[in-house]
């Protein structure tokens, strides 16, 4: 039963990832792609956390911290240069 629920969790996260990738390829504007990248890194964080809980590996939570920081800084940098685009 638990194995089935883990498969459901991973499938839901993967479905979200596929939808975000379609939007990333499709565009149509640059800010759409920036928020897609932001959500991709948050979804990757979700994958890492689910994996850490499933296989009892608490060290993976450090990776989630780093991903959160990198995604915030990347989005802020993209927004900064997007606003100053000529």
């Amino acid at each position: 039963m638990s194995e089935f629920l883990w498969n459901v969790i991973m499938l839901l996260l993967a479905a979200g990832m596929v939808a975000v990738f379609i939007r990333l390829v499709h565009g149509p504007y640059l800010p759409d792609r920036v928020i897609s990248l932001d959500l991709i890194s948050i979804l990757a964080m979700g994958f890492i956390i689910a994996y850490a809980v499933r296989f009892n590996q608490p060290n993976f939570l450090d990776v989630a911290i780093i991903l959160a920081i990198i995604s915030f800084l990347g989005t802020v940098a993209f927004a900064y240069y997007l606003e100053r685009r000529p």
Binding site: S2, A19, R23, P31, I35, L39, I49, I65, V76
Partner: protein, 141 residues
Amino acid sequence: MPREIIVMALMLGGSFFMALAGLGLLRMPDLFLRMSSTAKAGTLGAGMLLLGAAIHFDNFSISTRAVAIIIFLLLTAPVAAHMIGRAAYFDGVPLWKGTVQDDLHGRYRISTHSLETGAVPENDSPHTDTDLIPDNSEFDR
């Protein structure tokens, strides 16, 4: 095993909200509506997953780390969404045709990147009235 059940429910809810955020990003008609879906549903999903991890690892240092990530996400996600939204508005990304009200219309001055209380001339503000996504777009299928 009540704790197992709580962890499983939080994980399922979190991944459900994350899938919902991806679906909203794909299906919403306009950049600003898409952003509202990703910022809120994505943060809620990640927060539920992290809360599940904090309950699963019954350990002070690990649970503190998970709660710290939740607080960090709650602080930074709105800031990032606001910066991207402001940059996109200046960039002239069109609004959805069903938009009822645009309070920023004629308030932003492009040449100085500032918000003003008075009206700004039309050729110096980012959006015009016709700057909408048309009715026969791909999203109205």
